[in-house]
Every structure is written in structure tokens, then in C-alpha cells.
């Protein structure tokens, strides 16, 4: 399968092309309702995770929220 090269929290990663954010989060074992995701400095709302297709060169930032405050 064709791969795309992206950066997740600054680290180089190779992902299947046409992968969406929801699938990426599942691969990383992260719950979509407990993260903040930005792609190329744009905030991606949770309701767009499934339809947002990642592209070669994307800079993805994922913040994992855990309980405690």
C-alpha cells in the first residue's frame, strides 16, 4: 500500500495514504474525545476527525488529555 510521510508531534511517521484522523487515533490507541488535534497549525474539531484525510507532508500535533486538575 502507498505510504505518506507525516510528522506527528515533530516525529517522522509513515502512514497508509488516505488515512483519516479517526483511524490514526485508533492506531495510536487514543480516544478521540480525549485529544486535541491540529494539522498544519489548524484546529481540527472532533466532528471532522473521520472525514479529514491526512496528506503527505502534514504536520500533526496530538495532545492527549488525562484526568487531573
Amino acid at each position: 500500500m502507498e505510504k505518506i510521510r507525516v510528522f506527528i508531534n515533530g516525529k517522522e511517521n509513515f502512514l497508509d495514504s488516505n488515512i483519516n484522523i479517526l483511524s490514526l487515533l485508533q492506531q495510536l490507541n487514543l480516544k478521540p474525545e480525549r485529544v486535541a488535534v491540529e494539522v498544519n497549525k489548524n484546529v481540527i474539531p472532533k466532528e471532522d476527525f473521520e472525514e479529514y484525510i491526512l496528506r503527505d507532508g502534514d504536520k500533526i500535533e496530538i495532545v492527549r488529555f488525562v484526568g487531573g486538575g
Binding site: 485529544v35 495532545v63 488529555f65 486538575g69
Partner: protein, 199 residues
């Protein structure tokens, strides 16, 4: 750039910071910012002071049962009276965030539950892309305080913590470790208000 103490105090006096959640983190940030001279604080929490809060949050035993927003306002006013405090005794929702935070310069995310933290940050970032938000994640447990670090996720989005250490029955919040987190949050807020390099 170097600022005189007078310039710093003048700028802080005309600044406004909104604090979402008044537990160990939010109550600590509020007192630090009040002591530093921030002129306006917007406090938001729906909870009341519980006995279990007293050992790590900025409340007193006599305040058990009181809404946190009013108890914290009372404690801040005992330290200084030349401060404006706006209280919202309410649970934050996607609908009320724009109204509550419209006049603040910076938001502090200090909520407890991970879903609410994520919701708040997402909505605040979408409504107010030009305003900084400083969030916390991963502050529980007795691990080294050196793992409580600041990450600049985006120009106006900062996260403090190790992003892993979750609060649970065997991973408690310790006043010392959360103190590191809320002091970093408060100090970063001051630097941003003063237009200084954040990190």
C-alpha cells in the same frame, strides 16, 4: 527587551485571565496571578468545596460546602482588594464558552475530566484563535517533578505536564507536583501578558 517593575505591574493590572476549573491547579493559578498583580480574573467552576480538596486546593475547612468560585474569590480578596473578580458558578459547555471568555486575554485550562479538557481547548481555540490557552495534562502521582514540562503545540496553545500521568485511586494528585504545574502555568501566563518569549 527589558521591562521595569513599574511597566510590568501596569501591564498586569490592565490584564484579564480566565480560569476554567478551580481544583488544585486552577485555584493555585488564581492565587498566584492575583499576588502577581493581574487586574481581572474570570473564575469558572460548578463544584463546591469538599473535605478531600483541602489538602491540595486553596480553600479552608470553614469553606466546605461553599461553591468554589465564591470561596476562592473570598480568599483572593483577603490577600488584595485592588482586583476585579468575575465568578461563574456553572459547568462549561460549547454554548457558554464564547460569552464567558470573550473579554479575557488568556485562558487557563484547569479542568479535571479529560473529555471536558479536550472540549474546552477545542472550542476556545476555534472561538478565539488569537488568544493563548495554557492547558495541563499528566500531573498526577509522585513521579519526578522534572517531567512536568511545557510544550508549545501551536502559536497560542501550550500544554504543561507529562501528558501521561493520570489521576486515579492509586495515582493521587500531590500538592507538590501540581504546584510545579500550576506555577509554570501562571508564570507562562505572566510572560505572555507582558509580550515576552513564552518558553
Amino acid at each position: 527587551m527589558s521591562l521595569s517593575n513599574k511597566q510590568i505591574l501596569k501591564r498586569l493590572k490592565s490584564s484579564s485571565v480566565g480560569i476554567a476549573g478551580l481544583g488544585g491547579i486552577g485555584s493555585g493559578v488564581a492565587l498566584s496571578l492575583a499576588r502577581a498583580g493581574v487586574g481581572h480574573l474570570v473564575l469558572v467552576d460548578f463544584d463546591i468545596v469538599d473535605e478531600s480538596n483541602i489538602l491540595r486546593q486553596q480553600y479552608f475547612r470553614s469553606q466546605i460546602g461553599s461553591p468554589k468560585v465564591f470561596a476562592l474569590k473570598e480568599n483572593i480578596l483577603k490577600i488584595r482588594e485592588d482586583i476585579t473578580i468575575t465568578c461563574h458558578d456553572i459547568r462549561l459547555s460549547p454554548q457558554n464558552i464564547p460569552q464567558i471568555f470573550k473579554d479575557v486575554d488568556i485562558a487557563i485550562e484547569a479542568l479535571d475530566c479529560p473529555e471536558e479538557k479536550a472540549m474546552f481547548v477545542e472550542k476556545f481555540r476555534l472561538y478565539f484563535p488569537q488568544k493563548p490557552v495554557i492547558a495541563v495534562s499528566g500531573i498526577a502521582g509522585i513521579d519526578s517533578g522534572e517531567f512536568i514540562v511545557t510544550r508549545r503545540v501551536s502559536d497560542n496553545f501550550f500544554i504543561i505536564g507529562d501528558e501521561v500521568s493520570e489521576q486515579s485511586s492509586d495515582n493521587l494528585l500531590w500538592p507538590t507536583r501540581i504546584g510545579i504545574a500550576f506555577s509554570k502555568q501562571a508564570h507562562l501566563a505572566l510572560r505572555l501578558l507582558l509580550g515576552l518569549d513564552p518558553i
